[in-house]
Amino acid sequence: MTNRSRLTGIWYVLPALAFVIAFTAWPFLQMVWISLNDWSLITPPDFVGFQNYLDAFADSQFWVSLSFTLKYTLYITPILMIGGYLVSLLVTPNSGLSRLTRTVVFTPVVIGLGASSLLWYWLFSPNYGLVNKFLMDLGIIDSPVLWLGVDANLSNWAVILSITWKVLGFGMILFVAAIQAIPQEITEATMVDGAGFWQRVRKVILPLTRRTILLVTLVSVIGSLLAFDQFYIMTAGQPRNLTATSTFYVYLNSFPYLKLGYGAALSMILALIILGFTVVQMILTRRSER
């Protein structure tokens, strides 16, 4: 039976294998090749070696986009991690209210990033938006604040607020699962020891959920490094492309500007940065399992 079923097994895997080769592996190889060419779609590709990569390092907008993306990632990740963890501590006990809070906090996670960005684009609009209206009603500001597309920093924080609303529940739900998986005996032992709540969190809960914390960090970091929808919709990269993230800049070059070779080189650099983060994170996860 073994010999036959060996072949049978391959038949079952074959369609998926063909699909991944056709739509992930092959495009990846093509992208490597495109990145080595000067190609604007109208003219035929012209092999230029690593020129596109050298151009990228000399391109000030490349650095502006990359550093803005890193800044965004650096700001939002701790907010999502600490915020998500605190909410998960609050809702870990299985009361009715906790269950309701979990459901409600998770709901925006299933909403599209496009839809949520348009929702917040309206809330943050200077004259018609309810954020300014609310702050003015409270007397915190006197005149409408121009949240989006005028000041890069202010735009960044407005987007961070909208994304925090949207994805906080993702980390929360995974943290709740991890905390609930801690064996009851351990929790009880520390309670007998008379440890206070925060002491218990620090000495028992945090260390025992380290793997999940690393995982959620990785997912958040990669998601933030690839940020596109929220900036495309909420700031359109403004002011002066200062809020055009790396993915945004890849998109601009590859499609509206039709600089295919240059766009591909930028894609490769971005993919390598993300691969770097993935590898670091995997090493850390391995280590934490020991």
Partner: protein, 306 residues
């Protein structure tokens, strides 16, 4: 890997069916007053999360004048379906765009299931040489983000006539969804006891009949999970659609909404219509999530233990 590695079976949660674990009862740790404070905090958090959605729905029900008021009002002074009417007639018409989104999502679901059910079966139940290597290769899209592959995929699709084509977009969405779905499927196949399969094989069934008669019926939860995630991904995906679709009649809902920002009414963006669009885009996802929450959360947890 055995069924024990499945988080659902090792006693971890889902929002409805959690195990009764004593140490987690509220009040066991907190004193009375703190308990009330924490309860109040939970309610505040719920309100903060719900408010944007409520405001968007309420803005979508304003009259055109109300929606363009400066300063804006929190709630409509009178309820009106004007915005939905305008959205219905916008561009090629809302039915068209909704249809495009639904067709793309349906194609994505069908392709994802058609690829990952057999692949999960093969990987979980057959002694394939180099199995682990194949599995990792099938997860390639986890390492290479699809955002970075859009240029070559766009070029390939334009020669194949798959740009401005919902099947083309569904292929992109299937690529995004494949690693997660395959992971869920393989786990689900591994969780089915060997005895069931062996009994059928002894009766002379071939592997395809075993898949259909033995595995399919027990794996309905995994199918629901994969379908649910494929739907949400496809319904919401933006960048792939932005690149692949340019002709107005092919646009999916997220693109239409982004484009509707430039529609003006009374000298500004038509905010009422825009929020009507946001509401239409949000509701299917939220309803599906609330109905199938259990599958959603279990899928997320299984996928997260990679």
């Amino acid at each position: 890997m055995t069924a024990v590695s499945d988080p659902m079976q090792s006693g971890i949660l889902d929002p409805e069916l959690e195990p009764p674990i004593g140490a987690r009862e509220p009040g066991r740790f907190w004193s009375g007053r703190t308990k009330y404070l924490l309860g109040a905090l939970s309610i505040v958090i719920c309100l903060m999360m719900v408010t944007p959605i409520v405001l968007s729905i309420s803005a979508s029900l304003k009259t055109t004048e109300d929606a363009a008021a400066v300063p804006p009002t929190y709630f409509p002074s009178e309820l009106s379906m004007d915005n939905y009417q305008k959205l219905w007639d916008y561009g090629s018409g809302l039915p068209r765009y909704l249809g495009n989104s639904i067709i793309t999502a349906a194609l994505t679901i069908v392709m994802t299931l058609a690829l990952t059910i057999p692949a999960g079966y093969g990987l979980a139940r057959f002694p394939i040489p180099g199995k682990e290597v194949i599995f990792v290769f099938l997860l390639l899209a986890l390492i290479i983000p699809y955002q970075s592959l859009l240029t070559p995929v766009f070029l390939m699709f334009s020669t194949l006539g798959l740009t401005n084509n919902l099947l083309g977009l569904a292929i992109v969405h299937t690529t995004i969804q494949l690693p997660f779905s395959l992971y869920i499927m393989r786990n689900a196949f591994e969780a089915v006891p060997r005895e069931l399969e062996e009994a059928a094989l002894v009766d002379g069934a071939n592997s395809w009949q075993v898949l259909r008669r033995v595995f399919m019926p027990t794996m309905v939860p995994a199918f629901i999970t994969v379908t649910l995630f494929a739907f949400v991904t496809s319904w919401n995906e933006f960048l792939g659609a932005l690149v692949m679709l340019t002709r107005d009649t092919t646009l999916t809902l997220p693109l239409v909404l982004a484009a509707a920002r430039s529609v003006t009414s009374l000298g500004s963006t038509d905010w009422g219509m825009l929020q009507a669009g946001v509401t239409v885009a949000i509701i299917p996802c939220v309803v599906v999530y609330l109905l199938l929450q259990r599958y959603y959360v279990s899928g997320l947890l299984t996928g997260a233990v990679k």
